[in-house]
Symmetry: C2
Subunit: 133 residues, 2 copies
């Protein structure tokens, strides 16, 4: 389970993103596919770790909680990609719900707001072409 | 601003953690110190990017929002460290509020729940010693 040999951005240890969900398997199916992560073994009663394919990037810890989502998430993930339409379509095909009907535009950035199967918002964004150069 | 040359865990682009806050400067002061990150230039009206010291680890995007926090965060950060007491003390010294009076213990993991200056919960955890080996 130890990932400490992986390089970490946080000098005092590891940073992990914890995501609340109702069903660990359902959330794991969704987020492993969206992020290209893999499961770290079997879920415990309350937790399941998802690991990135390489040593780069944070672990995601799925946490089963009894309460449903209410209100807007105060932390969320942004997925920056080169082809907004394709990535949104891929996420929706995996079970995401698109919350924005039209793409949002600000400063050359174009994005959609989506929700995971638990209603947690995340964004898929297409930065300006100059971003990638 | 482009960080694409950095290695990324997400095969379709970049994953960024977005954190809602009331005051970009206050949140940046806090999270740069806690995570060892640095500011990516000056804040815009609504956004400020924080970058890890190395190419490993996700960017954090602070997002100014009008609403105050209500309810528990559905996504939060876990900071796994070797010395719980020292890291909690450091975070509190930087402006965190400790929400748990006594450390929580589960499966050999010991942790405290804290809140950033905007009330967003995060955890500081000390895994079992075997975790780091």
């Amino acid at each position: 389970m130890c990932q400490y040999q992986r390089m970490q951005a946080y000098p005092h240890g590891e940073v992990v993103i914890v995501v609340d969900c109702e069903d660990l398997d359902r959330a794991a199916d969704f987020w492993t596919e969206v992020l290209g992560y893999s499961r770290d073994g079997e879920p415990s009663e309350r937790y399941l770790s998802l690991l990135p394919a390489s040593e780069h990037g944070p672990d995601v810890l799925l946490q089963k909680v009894p309460e449903r989502k209410s209100g807007k998430n105060r932390l969320h993930l942004d997925l920056r990609t080169r082809d907004l339409g394709r990535e949104v379509e891929r996420a929706v095909g995996l079970g995401a719900v698109r919350l924005s009907t039209e793409p949002l535009l600000e400063g050359g950035w174009l994005w959609h707001v989506l929700a995971d199967p638990d209603g947690n918002e995340f964004c898929v964004l297409q930065p300006p072409a100059t971003y990638w150069t």
